[in-house]
Symmetry: C2
Subunit: 104 residues, 2 copies
DNA sequence: ATTAAAGTTCGATAACATTCGAACTTTGGT
DNA sequence: ACCAAAGTTCGAATGTTATCGAACTTTAAT
């Protein structure tokens, strides 16, 4: 991955609260993978109600949380979709892998 | 590594020019390891004239380059020492490893 | 002793980021 | 039809970052 995009990924993770948010999403995503026996095949199907969950466990306004989700999306780290009532959030493993391989 | 410190590491890598600088240092450090057959034992002894080298290959003022070196140091990613005429720069493998393990 | 090279520090400026509350939209429940 | 919940968007306030040139310090070379 070229420097420009990689720097954007790092920028997305450079804010402490946003990093916590990503950590939350990422760890849930990996639990989900284990639960559904998809471990190793990349990324889980997506966590539901990620926004609501984040609002519940982070002491930030909804608008700020929304903004942080946008930033993680813009960086390419996650993809969010809405299907009627639920906000579904997936981690983009390709990007996570890019960071890992940058450092090896 | 806790979120606060990790976010600082990411912040240090979030600027494109600084990322290039780190990449430069890091790749040279790893070449050095191979050359001196210390591969796998962590980090090389340190690259000499890192500042001068950076000035030569990055189109930025010396003051800005100095600033970027400081930021990488503050984040804990590198350690710089001056021994008389040479500026010696080492990569702190512990921090690199922390980032890798955050994403796994 | 003078000069040059290698870095650092300072002050300024412009750009960007974080966060909030308020106002809004869309969807679901009653 | 009305209300609540879930999100988004906007505007403002405040703080942080990137970058430069100028002025400085320290070490080496002549």
């Amino acid at each position: 991955m070229e420097a420009t995009r990689l720097a954007k990924v790092f920028k997305a993770l450079s804010n402490e609260r946003r990093l916590e948010l990503f950590r939350l999403i990422y760890s849930q995503c990996r639990q989900e993978e284990v639960r559904s026996q998809k471990d190793g095949k990349g990324c889980c199907e997506g966590i539901e109600k990620a926004f609501t969950m984040a609002c519940g466990c982070m002491d930030l306004s909804r608008s700020t949380i929304s903004h942080h989700f946008k930033e993680l999306q813009n960086a390419g780290l996650i993809t969010c979709t809405r299907q009627r009532q639920t906000f579904i959030c997936q981690v983009n493993e390709e990007y996570v892998e890019a960071v890992r391989s940058f450092l090896s």
